[in-house]
């Protein structure tokens, strides 16, 4: 029984824990921060803020898909719930954005708690489609029956009030705020995924029956992961609302899901760095390419096919292979040197 996990950790973890050991983890955080700071002059602060929010969303999706092996095609529901929760709170109750963020995340988390009870029992494409169906309902709800408070298709403006020295209507402040959120989420997810809990959800991805036979309540773990992923997606939604000062049903659009699936796959699923790289790649492509490519959906479709057939490791997978190669090369050269001496 122990053997199974030992074997797993023996083969799987050196890459991740090795890469993510304490020092490297902090270096990683710093590198991410530097990367986004350097990107601002190139792409404009507002855009990079937007990209970072998408990266948070991609990481939450990756927890579900890359780590636990559950492909959701309805993750936008939680992003939208976060956005609407926060926006409605600010509009109708109080302008305090910290409270609004809290409310948005809690809303998304609560929704994930309820729907998770149903969805996590399914696997594979059923899981994907059940989530898609719920996403469809959510989109419909904000669009039409709840029009009274959500203003349907038009959406509504969100203007948080100042909180002491924090003024999110200034672009740089928003940028720093989102960057901190991103680093916190990254740190939290890294801790989570390299803990015994993280190993367990990865084992669920490999072979759930086996984990269940070992005496773990897999339902509980799957549900918890679903709730965490929903909550973080909610955070991404809240930040979207605050960044655009605006919420409309696009935040819950069913078609938005393909973006995050694409991002996660092209970056390399099952790695947080992969999610960030993939998120950036997707955002850059979707922000700049549609000007040149008329047939955007066709482009996405063909890219997805290429990824599925030829590029499954994703960018991060290849980078990691490259690092491994360098490291091995290093060992070899050191060995050769010693021989020479």
């Amino acid at each position: 029984m122990e053997n199974y996990f030992k074997r797993k950790s023996g083969e799987d973890l050196p890459n991740s824990i090795g890469m993510f050991s304490r020092d490297r983890g902090i270096i990683g955080l710093i590198l991410i921060a530097i990367f986004f700071l350097l990107a601002t002059p190139l792409l404009s602060t507002h855009r990079v803020t937007d990209f970072m929010i998408f990266c948070i969303f991609a990481m939450s999706f990756d927890l579900l898909y890359g780590y636990m092996g559950r492909l959701s095609f309805g993750h936008m529901l939680y992003l939208g719930t976060g956005a609407y929760g926060c926006g409605l709170f600010i509009n109708y109750i109080s302008g305090n954005f910290l409270l609004a963020i809290f409310i948005g995340v809690v809303f998304a988390g609560l929704l994930a708690m309820i729907l998770g009870l149903i969805t996590v029992r399914a696997t594979g494409a059923c899981f994907a489609l059940i989530n898609l169906a719920f996403n469809h309902i959510g989109f419909f709800l904000v669009l039409s029956p709840l029009r009274g408070i959500t203003r349907g298709e038009d959406g509504f403006g969100v203007s948080p009030s100042k909180l002491g020295f924090l003024n999110l209507s200034s672009r740089p402040a928003m940028f720093v705020f989102v960057l901190i959120c991103l680093l916190l989420v990254f740190y939290f997810l890294r801790k989570l995924t390299s803990s015994p809990y993280g190993i367990l959800i990865r084992s669920i991805k490999e072979d759930e029956t086996r984990v269940r036979f070992l005496g773990y309540n897999t339902f509980l773990y799957k549900w918890l992961t679903f709730v965490i992923a929903g909550g973080i997606a909610g955070l991404a939604g809240v930040l979207t609302a605050l960044n655009y000062n605006f919420v409309n049903p696009n935040a819950m659009d069913v078609n938005g899901n393909v973006g995050v699936v694409f991002a996660c796959l092209i970056g390399g699923s099952g790695h947080l760095y992969g999610a960030i790289i993939g998120g950036m790649i997707y955002m850059v492509i979707s922000n700049f390419l549609p000007i040149y490519i008329y047939r955007w959906e066709m482009f996405l479709g063909f890219s997805l096919l290429i990824i599925v057939f030829r590029f499954r490791m994703g960018v991060w997978g290849y980078l990691q292979k490259f690092f491994d190669y360098l490291e091995r090369g290093g060992v070899v050269s050191r060995f050769l040197k010693r021989e020479a001496i």
Binding site: Y65, G69, L71, F73, L117, I118, R121, A122, T123, G124, A125, C126, A128, L129, I130, L132, A133, F134, H136, I137, F140, L141, S144, P145, V254, V258, V261, L265, R295, W296, E297, M298, L300, G301, F302, L304, L305, V308, F309, R312
Partner: protein
């Protein structure tokens, strides 16, 4: 009330046409074929081209549309699904989704995004119990019932049907008897695509035709197979008509909520039925 029932039966019949292929591909191959949306939509657009622009007769249009969809279904099965077979099902799902994206965009490219109207090809009414009902809708229901019996015959009496029924239950068992199941899976797949196109072309005169029409229909037929049981032929039939009635009754009181109500039924079924899939 009679109108509501007839409407419900019509919707149920259409859902049945579309779900049957979906249910069979899932039951035999464990594959959820998102590209089903595209075979459905392309069938409709071919019909429109033939009937609206080339002024073909509706019946020939239907026939030709279905015949065109068959090779498309075969190509998807042969080059996408079979190549990913035995690997992670998530990849198959993503790949079929990608096909759907490409297909939708291709339709937008060729036909544009503007919705097309297509008129009721029969246009006459029959009087039943003192009510005049559109003949076309009655005809659809009749076709669905005939199809149900035809499929039952096919699966009970032919060796191909029997092999598929056996594979629904125990795929490896069939392989161990020296039968190459993939061959039978492509038959099922192509059959399913053709039936989806049939559903699409028959539904076209009652709905608006636009490139994204496949998505909500796909989700509805997914609800049908969840409620009816994956790969369960009789269950699919009953559940399609039940959900059709759910839609028409909901629409009577709250026209926009019809689809949502179907998903609520689906969620309720999911709560009470364990799904080990």
């Amino acid at each position: 009330m009679i109108y509501t029932i007839v409407y419900g039966l019509t919707i149920g019949a259409i859902l049945y046409f579309i779900s049957i292929g979906f249910s069979l591909t899932f039951g035999t191959m464990r594959v959820i074929n998102f590209a089903h949306t595209i075979t459905y939509t392309i069938g409709v657009y071919i019909l429109i081209t033939l009937v609206n622009f080339l002024k073909w007769h509706f019946h020939f249009g239907v026939l030709f549309a279905i015949l065109t969809v068959i090779p498309i279904g075969y190509l998807i099965e042969r080059f996408i699904i079979r190549r990913l077979y035995g690997e992670s099902l998530d990849y198959t799902f993503i790949a079929t989704f990608a096909i759907a994206l490409i297909g939708v965009d291709a339709i937008k490219w060729i036909w544009g995004v503007r919705p097309y109207p297509i008129s009721d090809p029969i246009g006459s009414y029959i009087t039943l119990w003192g009510l005049s009902l559109p003949t076309y809708r009655i005809l659809i229901v009749v076709i669905a019932i005939l199809l149900f019996f035809a499929l039952n015959l096919f699966f009970k009496k032919t060796i191909v049907g029997k092999i598929v029924i056996a594979a629904l239950e125990d795929k490896d068992g069939v392989r161990c008897l020296g039968i190459n199941v993939n061959k039978y899976f492509s038959i099922v797949f192509v059959l399913g695509s053709a039936l989806a196109a049939l559903g699409g072309v028959l539904y076209a005169p009652m709905s608006s035709v636009h490139p994204y029409m496949g998505l909500s229909i796909l989700l509805l037929s997914f609800a049908v197979i969840i409620v009816g049981g994956m790969g369960n032929l009789n269950g699919t039939f009953i559940s399609a008509f039940t959900l059709g009635m759910v839609m028409s009754i909901t629409a009577r009181y709250w026209s926009q909520g019809a689809e949502t109500m179907v998903f609520i039924v689906m969620a309720t079924v999911l709560i009470f039925r364990p799904i080990d899939i």
